[in-house]
């Protein structure tokens, strides 16, 4: 579904954020990307739908080469759901309008069809009662669930999550993770940047560990948690799982 081959990215000639990264995500697979801050994991996931351009390497999604795409890029992006750390709902639009914008403009659905779909997805994330509210009136956890619904209304072929729970208060993390677990169980292809190792253990097929712009480890979940090969991954895990 997603292939990333020899991808490198520089922010300026001297600072390299991604170093020759290669990995892939199969259809129906859930891949968790973890690593210390500044390791390039958020940058990597944003290269998949070309929100971050890369200087070297090839990325494909569903057989289409993202890295050389120009005109059809918006169309491809509409089929790749993305959830951000800070939700990024459109604050000037009601919840239901947040969910309708992409459907009507990009997919050309009628207002009625778009609204029906929006309400269906809101029901799914348990927020039907909030349809007519504005994002600012919702809690962080609710906003993030709306953000997931906003991605789902576009009928995505895969979903990218960029630290979806990092900006949330602890008591709200689970309501978001529950929705994600549900999605994973339904067979959605997912690439998830997160520090939630509980989530990784529960639903991930594979875990990718990044450090300093490199993919240091790319292993099946049980291998990763059981016996990480690299020393850096061992250190990371011992720190993050210490409590």
């Amino acid at each position: 579904m997603i292939t990333i081959e020899n991808v490198s990215k520089w922010y300026n000639p001297t600072f390299q954020v991604l170093k020759n990264c290669t990995t892939s995500v199969d259809k129906g697979e859930v891949v968790v990307v973890c690593g210390p801050s500044g390791s390039g994991k958020s940058t990597l996931i944003k290269t998949v739908n070309a929100l971050e351009p890369v200087q070297e390497g090839v990325i494909t999604v569903d057989g289409l080469t993202v890295t050389s795409m120009k005109k059809d890029l918006p169309k491809l992006r509409s089929r790749v759901g993305m959830v951000f750390q800070h939700f990024e709902l459109f604050p000037h639009l009601k919840i239901v309008d947040n969910l309708m914008l992409g459907q009507t403009i990009v997919l050309g659905r009628s207002d009625d069809a778009a609204k029906a779909k929006a309400m269906k997805m809101l029901e799914r994330v348990g927020l039907t009662a909030h349809a007519e509210k504005f994002p600012g009136q919702l809690s962080g956890g609710q906003q993030q669930r709306v953000a997931i619904a906003r991605a789902l209304v576009m009928d995505p072929i895969c979903m990218l999550f960029d630290e979806p729970t990092s900006a949330l208060d602890p008591e709200m993390i689970n309501e978001v993770l529950d929705v994600m677990v549900e999605l994973a169980k339904e067979g959605m292809t997912m690439m998830v940047v997160t520090h939630e190792m509980g989530f990784a253990k529960k639903v991930a097929n594979r875990v990718i560990f990044m450090d300093a712009g490199e993919i240091v480890e790319d292993a099946q979940k049980d291998d990763f948690f059981g016996s990480p090969r690299s020393e850096r991954a061992q250190q990371f895990l011992s720190k993050i799982l210490a409590h």
Partner: protein, 230 residues
């Protein structure tokens, strides 16, 4: 102390002051605001564009307009516009533009520079994540600008835009240099015809103050009402 004054002159000239003078003042303010906003938004988008030619042109335009006194620009355009018109239309002789049309074009172009700076600040105040989110659901640059960035930018900027419009309303009085009958121009003409300078200018001051003060009051109320809950 007002014994020597004849305030009746105001009463007598009211129809002329408002029907002719204020009508032009308000028309000029309205056209320059709407035109300046549209043009200013375009200039702001050009200035923020990654295209070096567009952004340099926009920046030069804004800097030029903001570095010249408005009175000078009004004069300059009044004398230059016939020749510019001749050049654009490839006419044989300078095109007669007239003081009214000339001031309307001048104010629109001049205000565009100021509005573009307001719009630029408004556009830049929208977090990058909002743009990313727009792109992520498949919107293109134009759609993100139209549906995500500009509505938020306008809302953030509305109070500043209205305040600028109030300033513009006052600045329109500068058209007196072309002897146009705006509100102040009308008052001035009556004042000189009847020799009642103090009364007329005092009255004009009261009217300008009343309008601007009331408008500012409503801008403040509006500011509270439209602010987006974040």
């Amino acid at each position: 102390m007002f014994a020597d004054f004849d305030f009746n002159v105001i009463w007598r000239s009211l129809p002329y002051l408002f029907r002719e003078g204020m009508t032009f003042t308000l028309t000029l303010t309205a056209i320059a605001t709407v035109g300046g906003l549209i043009l200013g938004t375009l200039v702001a988008l050009m200035r923020l564009s990654s295209n070096a030619v567009l952004s340099t042109f926009a920046a030069s335009y804004v800097n030029l307009m903001r570095s010249l006194p408005l009175v000078l620009v009004i004069f300059l355009f009044y004398f230059l516009m016939p020749y510019i018109g001749q050049w654009i239309l490839r006419a044989d002789a300078p095109v007669q533009v007239g003081a009214y049309t000339s001031t309307i074009i001048t104010f629109t172009l001049f205000e565009a520079a100021y509005f573009s700076e307001i719009m630029r600040a408004g556009i830049q105040s929208i977090p990058r994540g909002q743009v990313m989110a727009g792109y992520a659901i498949g919107l293109n640059y134009r759609e993100v600008t139209r549906h995500v960035v500009l509505p938020q930018a306008f809302r953030n900027m509305l109070p500043v835009i209205f305040t600028q419009t109030i300033v513009l309303f006052q600045d329109t009085s500068l058209v007196y240099v072309l002897s146009i009958t705006d509100f102040l121009g009308a008052a001035s003409k009556v004042a000189q015809r009847d020799g009642r300078l103090t009364e007329m200018y005092l009255f004009a001051a009261v009217v300008y103050f009343a309008i601007c003060f009331t408008a500012s009051f409503f801008v403040k109320r509006l500011q509270k009402r439209i602010s987006i809950i974040r």
